[in-house]
């Protein structure tokens, strides 16, 4: 029952994130989506992943709110009728997740635990995260360089 409620709210939030006109409301709906995804992880016993999603998602969303405020151009208000239609559309889309089901062909397969997997993949993980950080630093350096050249 909880899964059905969470999945319905998740799909409605995702629809609102796409269909709402004002950027800040879109970001608020996206925040709601991410929070409910984290709740799904908690329901599925992936607690560490849920905490990670909350922790990293909070920072991302703070930046997103700021950017949304900067980028919003204050369009005309969404009429209540179209808002209601969006909500109904989201509820309609969430119905398959509630009523349909795909059977698990293999059943529960015992594998490496989360701690073992983290430990076994630590070298790859560190190298890849280092690459990601370097790429981000390079990207931001390029952006700042272009901005400085444009200003000068």
């Amino acid at each position: 029952m909880i899964f059905e409620i969470i999945s319905a709210v998740l799909v409605v939030s995702a629809c609102l994130a796409i269909f709402l006109d004002e950027a800040v409301y879109c970001v608020a709906a996206l925040a709601n989506t991410l929070i409910f995804v984290a709740l799904l992880y908690v329901l599925n016993d992936a607690l560490f992943v849920a905490i990670f999603q909350f922790a990293v998602g909070a920072g991302t969303l703070a930046i997103l709110f700021l950017s949304g405020e900067m980028l919003s151009e204050k369009p005309a208000r969404t009429p209540p009728r179209s808002l209601l239609l969006t909500l109904l559309f989201g509820v309609f889309l969430s119905l398959p997740a509630i009523f349909l089901s795909i059977s698990n062909p293999n059943g529960a397969v015992s594998g490496a635990s989360f701690e073992e997997a983290l430990w076994n993949l630590r070298a790859v993980d560190v190298v890849l995260q280092g690459l990601v950080m370097m790429t981000v630093a390079l990207g931001i350096a390029i952006i700042l360089h272009v901005k400085k050249r444009g200003a000068g």
Partner: protein
């Protein structure tokens, strides 16, 4: 495994937004939704098969996603400051007008 269907619906919503919306921030939100759908599928399948590797890879995928988001947002703010608009159509028109001016000169 209802999660697969849920993640497919999220993916469909994200792709629809990516294809139809013209505001840059909404395109970004659509990309975030697609990434969320992918990670949801990944974690739930790994969790239902009792594989810890899925959760371990989720951390890498989500960190990467966050870093990419930071770069995209920085680009969006720079574009908005430079051109004064976040609409993709208006940006394309601005660029085309610039190219025409250059060609005339």
């Amino acid at each position: 495994m209802d999660y697969v269907i849920l993640s497919l619906i999220l993916l469909a919503i994200g792709i629809y937004g990516l294809l139809t919306k013209r505001h840059l921030l909404k395109v970004f939100v659509s990309v975030e939704l697609i990434a969320t759908a992918a990670t949801l599928n990944f974690v739930m399948l790994a969790s239902s098969l009792s594989k810890g590797v899925g959760e371990a890879f989720f951390i890498l995928a989500f960190s990467t996603d966050t870093c990419v988001s930071a770069v995209i947002l920085a680009l969006l703010v720079v574009v908005h400051k430079k051109y004064g608009t976040s609409d993709i159509g208006a940006l394309v028109k601005l660029e085309q007008g610039k190219e025409q001016k250059e060609a005339e000169e």
